[in-house]
Amino acid sequence: MRWTRVLAVVVASVVAITVVSLGSVMVGAQPKVTIVHWQHFHEGRATALKALIPAFQGETGIAVVTDLPPYEQYFDKLLAALAAGTGPDVFQVPMEMAEQLINGGYLAPVPESVATTAEIEGRYLRWTTARFKRGGKYYGLPTDVQHLVLYINNDLAREAGLDPTKPPKTWDELIAQARKATKRDAQGNIIQAGLDTRYKWAVYTALLYQFIEGPVIDAVAKRATYDSPQGIAAWKVVEQLLRGPNAVDSPRFMPGQRKFELKRAVFYINHPVARSVIARIGPDIKYTIATVPAIKGKRPIAPGHHWAYVVNARSKNQEAAWRWVKYLASERAVRTWMRVAGDLPSITELLPAEPDPVVRESVKLVRPVDYVGVCDPIRNDLFDAIALTTRPVEDLVREAVQKENTCVQQALR
């Protein structure tokens, strides 16, 4: 008798829930769409992203859930998830991974209903979309657009007898000024770096794309070219910066720490986005931004790099995901990226809105990098090897190029 009553209550509950659910469907209530968004953590960009989400959610009713793992773990997590078919709807990838991801079928193209090809080509700086175009379709919209600039700590430069209003124009001048600004203790250990080389990528990229006139990575021949005489000359500058008693920085001086932001370095090559980090860590630092040094007698070149927001080909909410990406690359959002994170604009018309004249003018000097695949560690290790060993630079470069060729061939096969 007792069980009969329990059964009756259960059946009645199930019927009631079913009726209510069906009713809500019939009156037109739609399930809420939620987009899962991943990008690596960056202080300035995380703040900007947080500011953009509520406005998008309010306008569209599409919920956005974010995950911002540290840069070091970002690709581990992303690629494992993509391989397992559990990747996010929207994620951020660097330009050098475009070919691998598009060829692998991991990315969904921008639907015409969200943005037409003409619209994309008319709106964004051409170099920030070019690598994500395949077969007349675009597979990503630009974000985190950056070139390289030179930062100078005004106070430390003056202390060293330098004039920050007259930044070094050539690499020779930079080396001379950085040497003058480097301080050592009685044992000869560096206690103030002339040039902060923590961001190795920025230093060697600035050099390679100025010294090598053709491609640094030849995608057609699937090989690296920095073992050419021009490339060797570029790495020889790294040798001048890091080897011997006149080195302007050392891997053993404050390893892994932000020397410039902590007022322990006078010069620093980084992207404009570093402004947001300096503002957070060293808000009282007075600094000057200058164009990266050039080769004597040649026009300076600012290597350009960008990331892109892409949509997972397996996403069940591709349309909504692309609406979110379009919003992130919209004029309003780009203004937020510029203001909060210190990014460069990807939209051509917004270039005049960049407040710093040097950053703005340097955009005209951009030469986009042509790195392919995730081969940066090879060049980073080469940089370390030049600093930490006494082996001839030519030998080290030759070995690195062999490794990079394998890496590039792997990426482009």
């Binding site: 070091e72 690709f75 581990d76 690629l79 494992a80 993509l82 391989a83 691998q100 991801l101 060829n103 692998g104 991991y106 250990n189 206690i191 923590r198 961001y199 190795k200 990528w201 050392s250 891997p251 053993r252 001086f253 404050m254 390893p255 892994g256 932000r258 995730v374 560690p377 980073n380 290790d381 370390d384 090897a385 930490l388 060993t389 890496c407 792997q410 990426a411 096969r413």
Partner: protein, 325 residues
């Protein structure tokens, strides 16, 4: 034909209101016993199958394929195993793992065993306090600890170089120097595991019957002789267990070299500088999750598994001493 006595008994039971239990000949008691045992074990078996056997089989199949994650899988037979034989980084990372094992395991044994003997001494007061103190590193989060050690080993501002400076000794570059980085990390590896080995030795020491110790003392055995002739032989099973566990841990070490070489905002390659701390698991991780060559990484992982099995069997053969008084 039923015996007359049985009928009487049945009638007597019926009078007392007890019903005869029908006998089921389908399953014997033993069979039912075994079935119940399997029923209770089933959840564990199912779990083991899905989280160990199935992934292992999948990884083995993967090790026979060329899969760079971005493209389709291609069966290449033993191609990955041939490749690792010719890969200098494979040999280098294997060498670093051996170096780690040879350095870390004996150091832990040499520190933790005397420590356990000391903490087992009858005259010692505040034993629990000391035992807890030495065990704290074991329960401390390894990532957090590795970061702290990284700062302690900082060449410019680290407390270790500060002490060396006070003593007038040269200050190595530690984690920034390929010649010193591995040794710095090994210090952390030893520090982290001393407590675990100590507790195991303590447990082993407390199983040694006091009668043997007393008898040896009455016979005039010196403390040294007592240790070599009584304590160590009777501690052999524990010693074997500790050594095997430590060696397996040593071959599987990952977090300490990873965090100390590349964690945080260092913008450095894990296993650096210049691959000087590229232990074997870090090598597998780098191939699998940085270079996305999952087939090749799986082949390396199977080599590691085989290596651990072989080394463990060798240790059992060399160390195990069946001992009875």
């Amino acid at each position: 034909m039923r015996p007359a006595g049985a009928k009487v008994t049945q009638q007597a039971e019926a009078r007392r209101g007890i019903r005869a239990i029908p006998r089921r000949a389908l399953l014997t008691y033993r069979t039912r016993h075994v079935l119940w045992a399997f029923a209770f074990l089933a959840p564990a078996f199912v779990l083991f199958f899905f989280i160990v056997v199935y992934p292992l089989g999948w990884a083995l199949a993967l090790s026979l394929q060329d899969w760079s994650f971005f493209g389709a899988k291609r069966f290449i037979g033993l191609g990955n195993y041939v490749r690792l034989w010719n890969d200098p980084l494979f040999w280098k990372s294997l060498g670093i793992s051996f170096k780690w094992t040879i350095g870390v395991v004996p150091a832990i044994l040499m520190i933790s065993l005397p420590l356990a003997l000391f903490l087992n001494a009858g005259w010692l007061r505040l034993k629990s306090l000391y035992r807890t103190g030495y065990f704290v590193p074991v329960v401390t989060n390894i990532v957090a600890v590795a970061f702290v050690w990284r700062w302690m080993f900082d060449p410019d501002f680290g407390v270790i170089n500060w002490f060396l400076g006070v003593l007038g000794l040269p200050k190595p570059g530690w984690l920034a120097d390929p010649a010193w980085a591995l040794y710095a990390m090994m210090v952390v590896g030893v520090w982290k595991q001393i407590g675990q080995a100590m507790v195991l030795f303590l447990a082993g020491l407390q199983t040694i019957p006091q009668e043997f110790v007393d008898a040896a003392k009455i016979d005039g055995a010196s403390p040294w002789k007592l240790f070599w002739k009584i304590t160590l032989p009777l501690l052999n099973p524990t010693l074997l267990f500790v050594v095997v566990i430590l060696v397996i841990n040593a071959f599987r070490v990952f977090t300490i070299p990873y965090v100390m070489s590349a964690g945080g905002l260092q913008a450095r390659t894990p296993g650096g500088p210049l691959d000087s701390t590229r232990v074997f698991v870090l090598h597998i991780y780098d191939i699998g999750f940085r270079q996305f060559q999952l087939g090749y990484a799986s082949a390396n992982a199977f080599v590691l598994m085989a290596l651990i099995i072989v080394v463990t069997l060798i240790q059992i053969k060399l160390i195990q001493r069946p001992f009875e008084y």
